[in-house]
């Protein structure tokens, strides 16, 4: 797959992300894909910090910071207001974290999706509350260490299946993406931009501090998440039509888990359980994609 990545830059150096953070890569690619006619809505998240404090901004597009649980309904408000002013050209983008999407913001997101409000919602998922210091969210993987799921009391519940939830709202477009696959991400954003209604992109974005990896391992680990089929890249149209956008190699999950300090306590048996779950879920996804 070959895709042209635009040379335009709407994200500047001098942002405040930690070294190795996946999020600024994601936002940079997103802005390249969507262009300058965008408004970005950012609820409390790492991105609230990354784009810079008052009176600075690391992006050259309009940004509004909003309360934690209000990414989707704020985007609805921006869209309604632009429509009233006859501005149909501007794309409204909500950029939230996994906590702001899977947990505290899911009510507003579900409401907006049910109304099919016209914006692109990007969930930049680093699998925990990283901005507050690595506390578990409902996007945290099964058995992962976080500061609120310490070893001895690790997370016993699987990651919430946000894609299934969003797909079942019947929204016109939902897709997974990963910062290690920019062409795939950009293609999905451009496709999303051409569709009206609620569009949802679940972007996997490693957090070196929280995943306990070195800051130069972000892309490698992100690729492993995809190649092990833990985080397959696919899209869902109208809640029903599934399509795989990248065929993962299906390498053993141990290759992914063993790279990260947050899984360093796992026993062989536990890794085997995770492998079984991944195989099962992959089978179900593959079926849907073939159907």
């Amino acid at each position: 797959m070959k895709i042209h990545i635009p040379r335009d830059e709407f994200m500047d150096s001098g942002h405040l992300a930690c070294s190795g953070c996946g999020s600024p890569l994601g936002l940079r690619y997103a802005l390249k894909a969507l262009g300058e006619k965008v408004v970005i809505v950012i609820p409390a998240s790492c991105m609230s910090i990354i784009v810079g404090p008052f009176p600075y901004s690391a992006v050259s597009v309009p940004v509004v910071h909003v309360a934690f649980e209000t990414a989707a309904c704020s985007a609805s408000g921006v869209r309604a207001s632009l429509d009233m002013q006859g501005d149909e050209e501007t794309t409204v983008v909500a950029w939230a974290g996994d906590g702001g999407t899977f947990d505290i913001g899911i009510q507003a997101l579900s409401g907006a999706a049910e109304r099919n409000d016209d914006f692109i919602y990007i969930c930049s998922d680093n699998e925990a509350y990283m901005n507050t210091g690595i506390q578990r969210s409902s996007a945290t993987p099964y058995l992962a260490w976080t500061t609120t799921t310490p070893v001895g009391n690790v997370k016993e519940h699987p990651k919430k299946n946000i894609m299934a939830i969003m797909a079942d709202h019947g929204i016109p477009y939902a897709a997974t993406a990963c910062v290690a696959y920019p062409e795939d991400f950009i293609r999905k954003l451009k496709k999303a931009q051409g569709i009206k209604g609620t569009r949802f992109i679940h972007l996997l974005s490693p957090c070196p501090a929280g995943w306990r990896i070195a800051s130069d391992e972000t892309i490698k680990v992100a690729r492993l998440a995809v190649e092990t089929r833990i985080f397959p890249l696919y899209e869902i149209e109208k809640g029903e039509v599934y399509a795989l956008t990248y065929r993962p190699k299906g390498i053993p999950v141990v290759e992914y888990l063993s790279q990260q300090g947050r899984f360093s306590h796992l026993t062989g048996e536990e890794m085997a359980t995770i492998q079984e779950t991944v195989d099962h879920q992959w089978g179900r996804l593959a079926e849907k994609c073939q159907a």
């Binding site: 300058e36 006619k37 965008v38 408004v39 809505v41 609230s48 910090i49 784009v51 810079g52 404090p53 008052f54 009176p55 600075y56 901004s57 992006v59 050259s60 597009v61 309009p62 940004v63 509004v64 910071h65 909003v66 309360a67 649980e69 209000t70 989707a72 309904c73 704020s74 985007a75 609805s76 408000g77 921006v78 309604a80 207001s81 632009l82 429509d83 009233m84 002013q85 501005d87 050209e89 501007t90 009510q107 507003a108 579900s110 409401g111 049910e114 109304r115 409000d117």
Partner: protein, 384 residues
């Protein structure tokens, strides 16, 4: 055009005449007929607006914060638990200096569930940075909505227009609906100087360090202080255009009064009747209706009550552990004055219990017959 309108319909007409562009709301008794009527206006094309039918009051406020920042005149209405759920966003709206207007139909908070009138909901939002205006009748409700947008857009602070559940929201009165052209002249189209616009990229509401935050709050306070004058001036302008004013305060028969009762909302109308009756009996009692609660118009209130020996304050609310909230405010207004009235605090009508003429007369008699308050709180109409 004169029509018979409930308070809630008066709200809807006020919103329509104000040419609101974005409405976002969630239904709650006793606010529902406002959103029903506005939905109808939008459906039949009487009002050209986007109505976002959100899944909660929290989202209602969040979405109009966003729509207002994007440059559209925006409105919501709620009550009681809905307002409480919005609390976080009320700070965001005021801190964001957005000219929103919200109607709150005063209703008690549970438990136990209670849908009747009580000021506890709106007064719990006292410190959020919203201007609060309490209305007495349905004409005032309609007029205040129009004025509220002018005030909000002048001082860059949101305005909450408050009316009593059922006594106003569901009670019909004759209301004069002003012609659209006249409202347009009073309330022209609002052009935001700074707004979310891809042509002029700016970042709003970003992390504000201790180096900046305090000045933002100082400016909010200054805007609040300024809004007393702004509201008075605009009310006078409104009067010149429409032939009626409402004031931010309304003294009634206070001239030679020995004692003055302070009221807000519909209790005011009932009190007027009682005052008239007692005046006929020779009791030198006056009335002060407080419409503007935030900012609290200290100077204006002190001017009216100066030289009055005793003041009785009727509160349809309570700050637990202290007392009636209007009474507290009146007391604090006078605390640095050499000459200050004795302030009698009456708690009445909580959870929609009727505040009858007899109950008001009881409160007046307590004030009249005691040199100073014998109790911190006088509970009137309480079943002991």
């Amino acid at each position: 055009m004169k029509r018979v309108l409930s308070g809630n319909k008066a709200v809807a007409y006020g919103v329509m005449l104000s040419r609101v562009q974005v409405i976002s709301a969630y239904p709650i008794t006793p606010q529902t007929t406002i959103v029903e009527e506005l939905s109808r206006f939008c459906a039949v094309g009487d009002l050209e607006a986007k109505f976002i039918k959100v899944e909660s009051e929290h989202s209602a406020m969040a979405s109009i914060i966003a729509s207002s920042l994007t440059g559209s005149r925006s409105f919501t209405a709620t009550s009681s638990h809905g307002l409480a759920l919005m609390h976080e966003m009320l700070h965001w709206a005021a801190g964001g200096r957005l000219p929103l207007v919200m109607v709150n139909v005063n209703r008690a908070l549970g438990p136990g569930w209670n849908i009747w009138t009580d000021q506890g909901d709106s007064l719990s939002q006292r410190d959020t940075g919203w201007i609060q205006l309490y209305c007495e009748d349905n004409q005032e409700v309609l007029d205040t909505i129009i004025q509220a947008f002018r005030i909000a857009e002048t001082v860059s602070l949101p305005v909450m227009v408050v009316l009593d559940a059922f006594f106003l929201s569901h009670t019909s009165e004759i209301v004069d609906i002003p012609p659209q052209e006249e409202v347009d002249a009073f309330l022209p189209i609002f052009e935001r100087q700074y707004r979310l616009d891809a042509r002029e990229p700016r970042a709003y509401f970003g992390l504000s360090s201790p180096d900046y935050y305090m000045e933002f709050r100082y400016k909010m306070q200054r805007a609040m202080e300024d809004s007393v004058r702004v509201a008075k001036t605009l009310d006078e302008e409104f009067g010149r255009q429409f032939g009626r004013t409402h004031g931010i305060l309304e003294p009634y028969r206070c001239e030679d009064a020995e004692l003055v009762m302070v009221t807000s909302g519909t209790v005011t109308s009932t009190s007027r009747v009682v005052i008239d009756r007692l005046r006929e009996e020779g009791v030198k009692v006056g009335l002060l209706k407080v419409k503007m609660f935030r900012p609290f118009p200290m100077d204006e209130i002190k001017r009216v009550l100066k030289g009055i020996g005793k003041v009785g304050v009727i509160d349809r609310n309570i700050s637990f552990g202290h007392g009636g909230i209007f009474a507290q405010e009146i007391r604090s207004a006078f605390c640095n004055e050499d000459e200050r009235p004795m302030v009698f605090g009456f708690i009445m009508g909580l959870g929609g219990r009727d505040v009858t003429p007899d109950a008001i007369e009881d409160a007046i008699k307590v004030t009249l017959h005691n040199e100073r308050p014998m109790e911190e709180i006088y509970w009137i109409g309480l079943k002991r």
